[in-house]
């Protein structure tokens, strides 16, 4: 069986000449159908670039990205994206935001079928009471749920989560993590989660893959996570295996991170100067 989503030697750089920054270099990744994988990495390591590549919003310089063996050409509703900053249209209600997507992806539904479809996904993220509210009337966690519901309602082949929980407070994040795990089990979608939180990756994913810090970021060794599902946060936190896994991944990331800091070891000789008081009371306005 061929892989569901496959990245072959994908590289991406921005700029030209001396300003050229190679963000991603030789990314190779294979994801099976129904798998939940997490990619963890430092901020600025090119995680969002990776998601945008798979979403088709930008094109790779080298290599190719295949879905079910077919190369992707541009963005499409077969890959649902959930962004860190929700990306909801502020003039549409919760229902309207999802309706816009559903209308485009399933143009042949009758209005009752469409309504059923939309409410099913709103129910899945527990937002029925907020059906006709505008995004500005919702909390951050609720907005992110709408965003997840919109992505799921398009019935995508794969769900791309771009740091979906980073903008939320710790408590909301915890409850949404559990909800994302449940939704994944119920919908049986292939999910790729990008995060900077190692714990989150271990809690949710089948595999955690570290992304080395950019420039020239590439994927590190895969960590297989073998906790039973459904997963419980408290249970996993108490599990000695969890600590082991986390330490390993953290260690791996730190090792990779060291490499970045080592690069900037050039010593600068600082001039020996002392601050001098140049304020003259009563004349301050003249000095401007």
């Amino acid at each position: 069986m061929s892989a569901f989503l496959e990245l072959r030697n994908v590289s991406k750089s921005y700029g030209t000449g001396a300003d050229r920054v190679e963000v991603l270099k030789n990314i190779n990744l294979t994801i099976e159908e129904g798998e939940f994988i997490a990619i963890v990495g430092f901020t600025g390591s090119g995680k969002t670039t990776l998601i945008s590549l798979i979403a088709g919003l930008i094109e790779p310089d080298e290599g190719e990205i295949l879905i079910k063996g077919k190369p992707i050409t541009g963005p499409g509703p077969d890959r649902g994206v959930v962004y860190q900053n929700y990306s909801l249209l502020p003039w549409l209600s919760v229902y309207g935001n999802i309706e816009l997507a559903v209308k485009k992806v399933f143009p042949n539904l009758t209005s009752t079928q469409r309504e059923e479809h939309i409410t099913r996904y709103i129910k899945m993220v527990n937002l029925l009471p907020a059906l006709h509210k505008l995004p500005s009337e919702l909390s951050g966690g609720m907005r992110q749920r709408v965003s997840v519901a919109r992505a799921l309602a398009m019935d995508p082949e794969v769900l791309l989560l771009d740091e979906p929980l980073s903008a939320l407070d710790a408590l909301t994040r915890g409850s949404l993590q559990i909800e994302i795990e449940r939704i994944w089990r119920e919908s049986k979608k292939t999910v790729m989660l990008i995060t900077n939180d190692v714990d989150e990756g271990i809690l949710l994913a089948d595999r955690v893959i570290p992304l080395t810090p950019g420039p020239k970021a590439t994927l590190g060794t895969t960590f297989k996570i073998n906790f039973t599902r459904p997963r419980d946060k408290a249970e996993i936190n108490a599990d000695p295996n969890f600590k082991k896994e986390r330490n390993q991944i953290n260690y791996c990331l730190m090792e990779l991170g060291k490499h970045r800091t080592v690069e900037q070891t050039e010593q600068y000789e600082l001039p020996d100067i002392q601050p001098k008081d140049i304020s003259k009371k009563g004349q301050a306005f003249l000095s401007f």
């Binding site: 919003l57 994206v81 249209l89 502020p90 003039w91 485009k104 500005s136």
Partner: protein
């Protein structure tokens, strides 16, 4: 109920009345009392100070004008005539009233005259209509056009004509500027290609626009049987005022949040649904800011254009009053000034209200 009233006040932009409402209800008397003083009493006081300054200024100018008039009479006709002139002026006789800045009291009586005048003309019109009703019926049967009232328009008629002209101009501006702004906003090539047109035409004076439009209209409508001065003035008003909307719309459309565009890209929305479902709603706040500026500019240039185009309206009213120089002309001009200012303020408030109704960020 009470929160409904304060909400309504906030919607129409009269937040300054809110503390007074709260004070009447007895909420936090100390804090609201201070707010009433700051937001209500001080503004009212400033109106009285303004009137006082105007009155003093008018009196001062009147005295200078009076002395000069007496002095002139003395040098030309001698002491006795000068004494007569002084008596004549002090008696308040209209025939020898010095021509200077009118005092607030003069302005008030000027306003009353204008209202009286309007009542008289309305009555006159009604009478005329009754008189000609039978004849017009007959003429209609014979296929002739009816006899129309051709007397002079009242001040209120002038205001209505001006409002009609400004709305026609505003509609024209919106109809040209919004679609053009959207097209410019979507295409960077067109935007940079036509930038020079916008930059050069935007600062052109209304007077020049009027001349330009009349050059064109004169040729196009040479034989048409219609009110050319109205057409010329509303087109000029539209062309003068549309730039704010054009620039704001193209800016709004070109600077739509990238996240919203990504949503549209992922959904693969077509060009039209991208424009109508994502780009336009996202740029409504900026478009309306442009329309608000357009309407206030339109009202401002309208007066100057009417004055020059000899098109009926407030502008020509002001000009005619200035030309005819009767004893209360100056007062009537000042009345017109306040009416123009008041209507401009009202139009701006209406636009603000509409903007709040249609913008998604009104609650944010």
């Amino acid at each position: 109920m009470s929160s409904k009233i304060s909400n309504a006040l906030r919607w129409i932009g009269f937040t300054s009345l809110e503390p007074l409402l709260k004070l009447i209800r007895g909420e936090e008397p100390k804090k609201n009392g201070l707010l009433v003083f700051k937001k209500l009493l001080v503004p009212i006081l400033s109106v009285f100070i303004f009137l006082g300054v105007c009155n003093a200024g008018a009196k001062y100018l009147y005295n200078i004008e009076r002395e000069r008039k007496i002095e002139n009479t003395r040098s030309v006709q001698g002491e006795e005539a000068a004494q007569q002139m002084a008596d004549c002026i002090d008696s308040g006789d209209i025939s020898c009233k010095p021509n200077s800045l009118p005092s607030p009291a003069d302005v008030w009586s000027g306003a009353k005259t204008l209202v009286e005048d309007h009542k008289m003309i309305t009555a006159d019109k009604k009478e005329f209509k009754e008189k000609t009703a039978a004849i017009n019926k007959k003429r209609k049967k014979q296929g002739k056009s009816p006899i129309e009232y051709t007397g002079r328009p009242s001040f209120v008629d002038q205001i209505i004509t001006s409002l009609k002209t400004v709305f026609a101009g505003f509609l024209l501006a919106a109809l040209i500027a919004i679609p053009a702004g959207i097209v410019l906003g979507l295409s960077e090539t067109l935007r940079s290609g036509l930038n020079w047109v916008i930059q050069i035409f935007k600062p052109v004076s209304p007077v020049v626009w009027l001349l330009l439009v009349s050059m064109v209209i004169k040729t196009i409508l040479a034989n048409a049987d219609m009110d050319k001065s109205f057409v010329i003035s509303f087109i000029s008003v539209g062309l003068c005022s549309m730039w704010a909307t054009l620039v704001n719309t193209s800016m709004g459309v070109s600077s739509v949040d990238k996240d919203y565009l990504n949503v549209s890209k992922v959904l693969r929305l077509g060009v039209l649904s991208n424009v109508f479902k994502v780009v336009l709603p996202a740029s409504v706040p900026l478009i309306f800011t442009g329309l608000r500026i357009t309407l206030s500019v339109a009202w401002m240039v309208l007066i100057a254009i009417e004055l020059l185009a000899q098109s009926p309206g407030l502008g020509s009213f002001v000009w005619e009053e200035f030309q005819n120089g009767s004893s209360d002309s100056n007062a009537k001009i000042i009345v017109a000034m306040f009416v123009i200012g008041g209507i401009g303020f009202l139009l701006d408030r209406i636009m603000m209200f509409v903007q709040k109704m249609v913008s998604f960020d009104s609650k944010a």
